[in-house]
């Protein structure tokens, strides 16, 4: 369980993730989740996407987007469970699952982006 002083650190990750998610996810989700699968736009080719992903800046962008967004989720979801469902007695397990999930996702993102090109 987090000590009181760690709370600020997690809050900064939450806050940074909130900004990143707010600015970047809508357009990406619109493109890859709706516009491309539904054929609203000409889909980018595999080669086009690979050329993009090979750029170090794009990889850095995707890493920051994935990692910070997950830490944003971990923090917010943790408190939603505390306050919304009033399950304070499960503090430790919720803490572990939320931040553990964010750490695992960060590692997976790092691995994929490191080995993709």
């Amino acid at each position: 369980m987090a000590r009181q002083s760690d709370e600020a650190f997690f809050w900064i990750l939450f806050s940074a993730g909130g900004v990143v998610a707010a600015l970047l996810i809508p357009v990406q989700l619109f493109l890859f989740g709706l516009a491309i699968p539904l054929g609203w736009i000409q889909p980018p080719t595999y080669e086009h996407l690979m050329a993009l992903v090979r750029l170090p800046l794009v990889r850095l962008y995707l890493f920051v987007l994935c990692s910070l967004s997950l830490f944003h989720w971990a923090h917010r979801f943790r408190y939603t469970l505390y306050d919304g469902l009033r399950v304070k007695h499960l503090n430790e397990i919720i803490f572990t699952l939320c931040y553990g999930g964010a750490v695992v996702g960060t590692i997976v993102a790092a691995y994929l982006l490191w080995t993709i090109a």
Binding site: M1, Q4, G17, G18, V19, A21, A22, L23, L24, I25, P26, V27, Q28, L29, F30, L31, F32, G33, L34, I36, P37, L38, I41, Q42, P43, P44, Y46, H48, L49, M50, A51, L52, V53, V58, L62, L65, C66, S69, L70, H72, W73, H75, R76, F77, T80, G84, L85, R86, K88, H89, N91, E92, G101, G105, V108, A109, L112, L113, T115, I116
Partner: protein, 146 residues
């Protein structure tokens, strides 16, 4: 109070002192629109996480080659995934709007002793959002190496 600073230190024994707190229902947020909005706003984070999982699957498919990516695209075109992504998109938009609109309250800006209006504090976020979205859209659809 110790119990407040370290919630985990609480032990539930038969002789625990009675807390003079009203017992709040699990469904406390369903009564009022503001509370419901709060919970929906907080739950938007779940859809943020779903988006990240989808992105990781996409990267994994790209890494595995053109055939794996074609399979991934077919999955994304299924009605189940479209329905999920419509819901995700609405929640993420809700997150964006509530996040930007929170900035003026979280960070009151003062100029010359006067508080800058909430609209003026939030507006740059919306401008940045539009510019960045247009940039990402262009990179994905029209950018070319040559």
């Amino acid at each position: 109070m110790m119990a407040e600073a370290k919630p985990t230190a609480a032990r539930y024994t038969e002789f625990h002192p009675r807390w003079y707190r009203p017992n709040v229902s699990v469904y406390w947020w369903m009564g009022q629109r503001q509370y419901l909005k709060f919970i929906l706003r907080e739950l938007s984070s779940v859809f943020v996480a779903i988006f990240v999982v989808e992105t990781l699957f996409m990267l994994s498919a790209l890494k595995s080659g053109p055939q794996a990516y074609a399979d991934f695209q077919n999955t994304m075109a299924s009605s189940l995934m479209i329905a999920l992504n419509v819901i995700c998109f609405l929640f993420v938009l809700f997150h964006t709007i509530t996040w930007f609109n929170l900035a003026p309250s979280a960070m009151p800006v003062r100029l010359g002793g006067k508080r800058v209006s909430a609209f003026l504090v939030a507006a740059p976020s919306y401008v940045a959002w539009i510019v960045i979205s247009a940039g990402v859209y262009w990179l994905v659809t029209s950018w070319s190496l040559t």
